[in-house]
Amino acid sequence: MMCSSFRVFRVGISFVTMCIFYKSAANSLPELSPHEYFSTLQPGKASLAYFCQADSPSTSVFLEGLHEAVRPLQDYGISVAKVNCIKEETSRYCGKDKDLMKAYLFRGNILLREFPTDTLFDENAIVAHVLFALLFNEVKYITTPEDLQSAENALKGKANIVFSYVRAIGTPEHRAVMEAAFVYGTTCQFVLTTEIALLESIGSEEIEYAHLYFFHCKPVLDLTQECRRILMEQPLTTLNIDLFIKTMNAPLLTEVAEDPQHVSTVHFQLGLPLVFIVSQQATYEADKRTAEWVAWRLLGKAGVLLLLRDSLEANIPQHANVVFKRAEKGVPVEFLVLHDVDSIISHVENNVHIEEKQEDGEDDVEGPDIDIQDDEVAETVYRDRKRQLPLELTVELTEETFNATVMASDSLVLFYAGWQAVSMAFLQSYIDVAAKLKGTSTMLLTRINCADWTDVCTKQNVTEFPVVKMYKEGENPVSYAGMLGTEDLLKFIQLNRISYPVNITSIQEAEQYLHGELYKDLLSYSSVSVLGLFSPTMITAKEDFIEAGRALKGYVITGVYSGEDVLILSNKYAVTLPALLLARHKEGRIESIPLANTHAHDIVQLITDASLETFPEITVENLPSYLRLQKPLLMLFSDGSINPQHEKAVLTMVEQKHLDSLTPCWLNLKNTPVGRGILKAYFDTLPPLPLLVVVNLHSGGRVFAFPSDQAITEQNLLSWLKKLEAGLENPITVLPAQDWKPPLPAYDFLSMMDAATLQHPTRKAPECLKDPDVPESVKEHHEDKSAVEREPTETLRIKRWNRSSWFKYAEESLRRDKEL
């Protein structure tokens, strides 16, 4: 009894203290009975109520969270209450079981949602869930890419979209998005997902974190066009999202005519730098277009303004065309001369980048170390330095042996420098060639290290490395101009076994030549054989051709025929003389090309172009030949050999001249694995193959992908290309157009030297010998003596006046010198 009454007493006390506590916090979480609660509900007003048993513990994790959430929810006009279910008043919201108590969200007295308390695990979760429930229409929850697509399509031309991915409902990021939706929900459509796959489909990386994109759909009037997507790069907090949306909604371009130092726009207030494009009356229209383009590119990164120089009083340097105002307050504006949009963009990005670095750079690892090798050739050669190459396969030349060797036999000489990485990388291929040719070639493979024999190399006119020259008896040395690799050099050596051009002596031989029977073993090195046909009188034309043939020496097999009976050939191949016959051995075709007043240089070009294939397999080696054509590439990526049907489709289109404006080609990932790197750059994730793209390298760098759900057939391709041409397709990516700037900074020795001069005049070397043991008097004498040296006449006069004392002085001085 004593015990129980004591307990009652104690409860009483605790109740009192709690009342006091709740009083003080009364405006935050009112405790009501069900009846009281329902009587307070106002129509249209939202309210969250937690129904609990009167005797339930008055503190819990949930209640703590609820307390925290009162204030923020009130900010959104949502009241919060704790309803104590007492026995006298029964309510259907008062559950039977203590453990099954729930929170309920009402609007007026209509129940909107009920929440099990475990979903409302903390303040963030409470706010997020409540707002999510209330903003049901403003925030669309989706789960598939199709949902997103249809939402996007539905809003094109109407409203912009704020699309966000959060890891889960109720997270702080979710709350931040919901709070933003509460503010901007009427002006933008919010779309929310928790599906990683959805995010992947729009090409995001690092998906551990929440993402938020702003889709600019409102300006999109053409349904085939995609909305421009801008990723918010800052973490998802309420403030950041607010700022981000404000910037997105700010006008793309503002025109100003005041001192940039005093201009402030929403961007600037939001902590973004400002870029002023300086314009004047004469170029206003063009500048405005540039500025808009810059603004579009810098969306979310900087504010862009058009500064009208003519109506401006402030002083802007004559040549400056861009003014950059950093986000930091009080930093003077920079006047810049930037010649293209890309340099403006990169200037802004670089400067923003630096700020970020400075912010979180403190505890981070330092930036890239400028002492670490970032040249792949130098690094690989260095790492490979201890491997023994079979150098003995080639003859090492010296000053003494050089002339004798290259005169004695047909020789190939590699001029290299032992300290130069590119030389040493190529030396490996060169040795490989020697190994492959071992015992089979009459060509002597030699090398000379110009680091040792610099005079020999200079005499051979070699001042850069590496260089390969071929020395043949009776001919001028020829520099090898092909790729610095085993295959191409081998090809060059093999093809040099014949003369250029080959002198064909009869019709019969010409036919053998054209059918690949004359130089069977060389066919694998030259895809075509060219035969020049001339009547015996066409001397100039023939000479031009011979010159062209020499220029192609080692790269394309050429032959010449000018017999009396040459008409037999020209008739057979239906061509007027002078002419070229071009035998494509792989395809077994012989083409004829008339030559009229064609100079050697043009013939070389003609043959080079003609030896290109119509639908080649692109490799590392042959890409440059095709890039020369300056046309967009129509490129089929294939994992292995090409599907014959696809090949046929493309070839048919080529024949029908549908692909004249493109360079059709295909890439075999098995032969050219680096193709994967290309796909990665185009698609981020490797899409299923085969895959067709158009890469517009020479104008704008836009890459278009043929829809993967369509079969690669002539019709589909044709209609897709038509759409492309009509501008109805969107690029999947635009290749970056940045210049190749220095990868890392250099040591700034000039500043170090300046700093040293300012701080301390001394350098690493001691200025002079300072000996602390030398007595002061001696030091003085030393100084006096230097005065003597400088002004001998005056000192002499003093000496005259006081002879005896001078002697002492002179003596001391001499003695001292002896000591030195």
Binding site: D374, D375, V381, S429, P673, A737, P743, A746, E811, D817
Partner: protein
């Protein structure tokens, strides 16, 4: 190391102006510098003649140095076969295309005999067929104004037979031939270096006083050190040791035996005093006493020697109170100005460099256009700094003068090689590792790299006189409109000096970030966005050999003077060049270029200038493997599965 012979001081009357046919180039003197110039003129096919007083070349070496040992090193072995590099350590050879004319074939001695030098010079002139007119003493040089002449005047030379030579350009390579004398009471008792006995027997048991502190003085002392009672050496300034000053004209260790005996208290000694304050008295026994000039003056002219006050009369521990048996003067040499007419305005008049004619950094006389001073006499340009007064230095400055002349009179631009920008790092490396002209004439001659428009290519000019940088365009006939690099070599700024301890602990720098503090000779590269103006060159900051550049790079000093270390030397150099030009100078394998070509709108220079021209660099299996291990290259063959690593590899090579 020795100047060429001088000409007699005789002044002949100018004969009537017989109009002789004019020559393009007259070279005075067939010493090393004159022959070197003759060689270049001959190779260029120019109209020239060399006038030499003696019957053969290099007659100076017939008598000098008196003790016959040249102190220019004849290093026959370096362990290297690079001929250009080896000239860095060959101080005697002249430049020529003929490898037989290297001095190492003429003497096996590290410090060769002067006779071998004379023989060498004879061969040089003979084998190369240089046009030298011997036994021709030019007595008078005057100007003959003529507006049609190259320089607005002809140089009119008259020889001892009265023959007249008219020259469009006069190249004076007569060396320093007049012994330097100091006038003070009793100076008539001195024996000169040029005539003193070289036989040690003549000095047995004598007290010797030597005036002067150069190599000649020490060489003389060295010769008699073992037989004299003691040698005292007196000069105005303290001893300058060449290892401390890094100037080959200062006292060389080979001659410094007296320093050793002095410091070890073996009776020999060094003293400093201004010689002009002194007087030498000869007593009745024929011994010499040192006293002061004003004591002599005080005593009056007619006093006998014994009556003059001596310093020890007042100060009884005076250092030079002992009587000397001989006093020898070894005070160096002066240029012979006497044959040049005043209208040539050759003499300097400046107190400081009285011994040299007044010339510009282009070696052209300040007073008359078209007169160039070569060889030892041209040393005022780099006196006490570099090697321009010695064969191993002036053989390069003579070549520079010849290149200037070719441009000025024959429209032949300064030789230059053109290269694509991808060769920039290599070109610099090649030169700093082998160039002998930059190495010997450090601080005076520099390579100049003229960047071409858009920084896609450059021109490389070798060994241009740095002090003429502002006039580069007119002197070389090349354009420097898009920035330039100047490559030369320097010692650390506070490292050299007679008072410096060059052996101090920590004297060498090993870290690349401290390269600017390097003390020993090391390559320094200056970058200028614009060619410096004459004002900027003249009023450059103190201690700067060149005007303040836009950026500067020091390649860290190297114990082996081998600047080819990939990370220690090459990488920082590349970064410097890249940042000056604002481009990426890395090299890439063809595969990387292929990837860039299809995934970017622009390519790095290496890919543009190589790969796109079908001259890409293929990798090999082994190199590719290293590339993947280093993280600089990606293994695309095995890349299918981890595509998401993108952008996070250390070797990420996005352009920035």
């Amino acid at each position: 190391m020795w100047g060429s012979p001088g000409l007699l001081l005789t002044l002949a009357l100018h004969p009537a102006l017989a109009v002789a046919p004019a020559r393009d180039y007259c070279v005075l003197g067939a010493g090393p510098a004159g022959l070197q110039m003759a060689y270049f003129l001959q190779r260029a096919g120019r109209d020239y003649t060399v006038l030499e007083r003696a019957p053969g070349p290099g007659s100076f070496f017939a008598r000098y140095p008196r003790h016959r040992k040249l102190i220019s090193i004849n290093k026959r072995y370096t362990g290297r076969s690079n001929a250009e590099f080896n000239l860095r350590h060959d101080w005697n050879s002249l430049l020529s295309h003929d490898p037989r004319l290297l001095f190492k074939h003429y003497s096996a001695a590290y410090f060769p005999d002067a006779g071998d030098m004379q023989r060498y010079l004879g061969d040089f002139a003979g084998r190369l067929g240089l046009r030298v007119q011997y036994n021709t003493t030019v007595l008078h040089v005057a100007l003959d104004k003529d507006r049609r002449a190259w320089n607005g005047h002809y140089f009119v030379l008259t020889d001892h037979k009265g023959r007249v030579y008219r020259c469009r350009v006069l190249l004076v390579a007569t060396g320093l031939s007049v012994p330097n004398r100091v006038d003070f009471p009793g100076s008539e008792h001195l024996e000169g270096y040029e005539s003193v006995s070289v036989d040690p027997e003549d000095f047995v048991g004598q007290n010797v006083l030597i005036l002067g502190r150069g190599n000649a003085a020490f060489e003389t002392a060295e010769n008699i050190l073992g037989v004299t009672n003691f040698i005292h050496m007196l000069s105005r300034s303290r001893v300058r040791l060449s290892w401390a000053t890094h100037y080959v004209g200062d006292l060389r260790a080979i001659n410094n035996g007296l320093l050793d005996t002095y410091q070890l208290k073996s009776l020999d000694g060094l003293l400093e005093s201004d010689l002009t304050d002194l007087a030498i008295l000869k007593d009745r026994e024929g011994k010499f006493h040192v006293t002061l000039k004003f004591f002599v003056e005080e005593a009056g002219t007619n006093q006998s020697a014994d009556a003059v006050t001596l310093p020890q009369d007042d100060s009884d521990n005076f250092a030079m109170r002992v009587a000397y048996d001989r006093v020898i003067r070894c005070l160096g040499w002066n240029f012979d100005f006497s044959i040049f007419n005043e209208s040539l305005r050759l003499s300097s008049g400046s107190e400081f460099s009285r011994k040299y004619p007044l010339i510009r950094a282009s070696y052209e006389a300040k007073g008359s256009r078209g007169l160039f001073v070569l060889g030892t006499a041209s040393h005022s340009v780099d006196y006490r700094k570099s090697a321009g007064g010695f064969i191993h230095g002036f053989r390069y400055t003579v070549r520079a003068v010849h290149r200037l002349l070719e441009q000025r009179h024959h429209g032949v631009a300064w030789p230059a090689t053109q290269h694509p920008i991808t060769q920039l790092t290599s070109s610099v490396l090649r030169r700093v590792n082998e160039a002998s002209g930059l190495y010997q004439m450090f601080g005076v001659l520099a390579d100049v790299i003229l960047v071409q428009e858009n920084a896609t290519a450059f021109e490389y000019l070798e060994e241009f006189p740095t002090q003429m940088l502002a006039q580069l365009e007119s002197l070389t006939g090349r354009r420097a409109r898009h920035g330039l690099f100047v490559v030369h070599m320097e010692y650390g700024r506070n490292f050299s000096g007679p008072e410096k301890d060059v052996f101090f602990y920590d004297r060498s720098v090993g870290h690349t970030e401290d390269a600017w503090q390097s003390n020993f000779l090391h390559p320094v590269i200056y970058y200028y966005r614009h060619l410096p103006t004459e004002q900027e060159v003249r009023f450059r900051p103190a201690q700067w050999p060149l005007p303040r550049p836009t950026a500067i790079h020091h390649i860290v000093e190297d114990f082996l003077t081998d600047w080819t270390a990939p990370v220690g030397h090459v990488l920082p150099l590349r970064r410097f060049l890249e940042n000056c030009l604002g481009t990426d100078l890395r090299s890439f394998y063809a595969e990387s270029c292929f990837l860039f070509a299809l995934t970017r709108q622009k390519l790095p220079p290496f890919c543009r200038q190589g790969y796109l021209r079908k001259q890409g660099l293929a990798s090999t299996e082994s190199l590719r493997r290293h590339g993947v291990e280093s993280g600089l290259m990606q293994d695309h063959a095995a890349a299918g599965q981890h595509l998401r690593d993108r952008g996070q590899q250390p070797g990420d090579r996005r352009p920035v």
